[in-house]
Symmetry: C2
Subunit: 153 residues, 2 copies
């Protein structure tokens, strides 16, 4: 059982933007900080934009930023956007071939377990992952906050 | 996010044995009832035997049966035996390349969510999936219980 790479990197994009307070972030820099390809991150960006989590600013000084505060973006929302499927077993899919379909409680048990999983993720936000993390900006290749504010001033 | 095929079919093997009350079951019949290959089911059998859920009886009239009552085998135990990994994201693995390792709460959030998932599965047993299911035996290709008991008598 594993989350997709899309989910993994979507969370990193959101964490990067949340850490890069008040600044526009560039996919090139996020890709470099995470050893990921820009093309891959661009693909993940699209559903995050559509879901209202990220907004893009075009132009020479363009970039991306969170479309709403980090404490309003839960991990549940992110995985629900980026996971291609929560079909834990064959019986989640219409037209499944399992002969026990309609006579099996497994589907119900798995749905209940999945809801418990998602409920916990609903209690965590991108802010929980990024706030009060003095080393996080450095790990992401961002300048210390003092310099960042000086650059804006 | 998806459980492996091994888990899916391990549960079906256990359900078959639980439904085939007081009888030995044959992999050939379980394979036929589930449109699965015997070789694949044999591979899944081994960890279930090692985990003390299934016991095998050799010989011409041999077969397999539950090694303990169905109400003592939880779905949590099954998935813990059959899932190859619960490494939901890269950061669950030692030596992961994510630059945020050690500075990220994601790992903790996912562990908590996974524990909630497994806790729910710990409340369901193979008996919950099979008892009071009059149509289940027919779906599995087993004779109705009356005939089965007559055959034993």
């Amino acid at each position: 059982m594993r989350l997709t790479r899309q989910t993994n990197y979507a969370i990193r994009i959101l964490m990067y933007c949340a850490s890069n307070t008040g600044q526009l972030s560039r996919i090139r820099e996020i890709a470099a900080a995470n050893s990921a390809s820009e093309l891959f991150l661009f693909k993940i960006l699209q559903p995050l934009v559509e879901a209202g989590m990220i907004e893009t600013m075009r132009g020479r000084n363009g970039g991306i930023r969170l479309a709403k505060p980090a404490h309003l973006i839960t991990l549940r929302e992110v995985v629900e956007v980026t996971e291609e499927s929560f079909a834990l077993a064959e019986c989640f899919e219409s037209g499944a071939a399992c002969p026990l379909m309609d006579n099996c409680e497994l589907n119900g048990a798995l749905h209940q377990a999945l809801e418990a999983f998602l409920s916990v993720l609903g209690t965590y936000t991108i802010a929980d992952l990024t706030q009060d993390k003095p080393f996080l900006r450095r790990r992401l290749g961002l300048p210390p906050l003092v310099e960042a504010h000086a650059a804006v001033a």
